[in-house]
């Protein structure tokens, strides 16, 4: 075994009490990091999953119609005018099949679904409810939001006049599978549809208003033969949605909004949560570093005479330095292994304590390999860094003084 490893291990073994205490300290610090990261990571993932479970990552739509002046200003004619916003008609995206083709070939985009989204009313018996009518291509739509696993009754079938409606809407209308509904679109087109499926996405707004029908049916309801008002996209990396949306808008000229823009407040909350986590991690790591450094500084003081002897008999400074760096690294690594195990156990226990009525954990934790590698690398790195000061101090000891004064 190399000399510095042998001596580092001996020093750690011989100072068992001290080593155990600092290992315990590092382990507690690492377990806090692992537990906190697993908990916050789990909560964030769950929130994002729930949010993105009922919406596309990117929505392409027709740019807003801008008001146009009736008389143009010239060099000699100044016009004082009042601008009135233009009423936004339901319009189809120009050349939408070309746009679909373009975005389908873009890297990072994993699903594309053209649709028509418009407002309407549905009537059953005496109940009249406003609805969001979504005309979709079923196969493409399911690649964006997989409703098959969210069906509470019936099945996802949009053939002919069959529609799928949200569970809350069904409850409000008193409708069940096979029931007929009268549907009126905002364009004044009426039709009678049959409930083929009822779904629940866990979002009241969606479950209480959505009515899904085929794209062709929606085109006739909104007088948009062959049209599509929106194109919905799913991307591989949800956090790349903003960038991809900006690129698509620049390339195609259509309005592209990512889920990140639409849910800016959620993202701001998640970001604040991440900042708090980082701050706690920083202070925990600082405490770990100070603990390791103080133990090793004491060790250098205690062993200064030994270090002097080692230097006197021909041990190079670098090797003396490495003896203490190795101790710091080993304390960090050992503590991180123990701390990771403890943190995982704590997170799993916490997850099992609070559960929803359906058995799902109220506080889902997310323990990933990368989190454990990160925690271990961080603690080991901090151990090494913390050992730098005592190691340099040990290497700089004057052997004659160290032997004389100890």
């Amino acid at each position: 075994m190399p000399f510095e490893w042998f001596l580092a291990l001996r020093y750690l073994r011989d100072a068992r009490g001290q080593t155990t205490l600092i290992l315990g300290g590092v382990a507690v610090g690492v377990s806090v990091i692992v537990f906190l990261s697993a908990l916050i990571g789990g909560l964030q993932t769950s929130l994002i999953d729930k949010t993105l479970g009922s919406q596309p990552h990117i929505t392409l739509s027709v740019p807003r119609e801008a008001p146009r002046p009736l008389v143009a200003a010239t060099a000699s004619l100044a016009i004082a005018r009042r601008t009135e916003e233009t009423a936004q008609r339901l319009r189809s995206i120009d050349q939408w099949p070309t746009v679909v083709e373009t975005v389908e070939g873009r890297s990072g985009v994993i699903a594309v679904s053209p649709s028509i989204v418009g407002a309407g009313f549905t009537v059953r018996s005496g109940a009249r409810r406003p609805v969001v009518i979504r005309g979709v291509d079923p196969e493409r739509f399911l690649a964006i939001i997989d409703l098959r696993v969210r069906m509470t009754d019936g099945r996802f079938d949009l053939d002919g006049n069959y529609v799928a409606i949200g569970a809350k809407l069904a409850a409000n209308l008193g409708a069940s599978i096979g029931d007929k509904l009268r549907l009126s679109s905002s364009e004044g087109v009426d039709d009678v549809v049959t409930v083929g499926g009822i779904f629940q996405l866990g979002n009241d707004g969606v479950d209480g208003t959505w009515l899904l029908t085929s794209l062709r049916h929606a085109q006739s309801l909104f007088n948009l033969a062959g049209g599509a008002t929106t194109i919905e996209l799913k991307v591989a990396d949800v956090f790349a949605a903003q960038r991809i949306a900006a690129e698509i808008q620049a390339d195609t000229g259509v309005q592209a909004d990512s889920w990140m823009t639409i849910n800016a407040e959620l993202l701001s909350g998640l970001s604040a949560q991440s900042s708090s986590k980082t701050m706690i991690q920083f202070f925990v790591i600082l405490a770990v570093a100070l603990g390791i450094a103080s133990v090793l500084i004491v060790s250098v003081v205690q062993k200064s005479r030994e270090i002097g002897i080692l230097r006197a008999v021909g041990t190079p400074r670098g090797r003396i330095m490495r003896i203490f760096l190795i101790q710091g690294g080993l304390l960090g690594l050992g503590g991180s292994i123990l701390g990771s195990a403890f943190g995982i156990a704590l997170a799993k226990l916490f997850e099992s304590l609070a559960r929803d009525p359906d058995g799902a954990p109220k506080f889902p934790v997310q323990i990933t390999g990368s989190l454990l590698v990160f925690a271990s690398a961080l603690a080991t790195g901090v151990g090494l860094l913390a050992a730098t000061i005592p190691a340099r101090r040990a290497a700089a000891l004057d052997p004659a003084t160290a032997i004389r004064n100890g």
Binding site: F3, F6, I309, V313, G314, P316, P399, A400
Partner: protein, 231 residues
Amino acid sequence: MADASPVLVVEHVVKEYGDVARTRALGGVDLTVGHGELMALVGPSGSGKSTLLNIIGLLDRPTSGTVTIAGTQTTGLGERELTDVRASKLGFVFQFHHLLPAFTAVENVMIPAWGHEGWPSASMKTDAEETLRAVGLGDRMYYRATNLSGGQQQRVAIARALVRRPPLVLADEPTGNLDTASSTDVLQLMRRFNRDFGTTFIIVTHDSRIADSCDRIVELVDGLVTSDRRK
């Protein structure tokens, strides 16, 4: 018997401490020590013995003057070169044994080679065991340093100084902490190595009995060599 070629040449070595009010510890020491000499360095406390020993041992640098060890002129050498010279040409025996308590006797004796080279080798262990047997500790090789008596610990320290067969061994009050029997034991050991291997010893001592048993006695007073007697 002393070899004709010197193992140590100290020329006009001056050592001063302090920046403003300078204290002169050594006032221009000249000393030549031949191969195979057993030399005592004596003098009252504060005469500069330990300072001179530290300079010869390359643990301290002189203010001026030169030190040549086994043909290597050490003035101007960097830290790494000085470490190499210490490891290959010098052995140290201190008043207190200064063994590493976490190590066994054989591990302590391996330190000069192991610490310098980094990796242990079979020859390092064989050499250490052989040297421990030579100092009469063949049955204590795997004892922890803390489990040995004072005399045994000092013998391990001597084995550590001799294991690489350096041409020059510097001993600072090697019997200062030992009883009479152990002192005699240690002295005989050094004499035996001096005789059998031609190792040169410079022994700093206050003990006239130890000094009288050496071949040469150099006396230092107020940082200057005041007498140099050979038997």
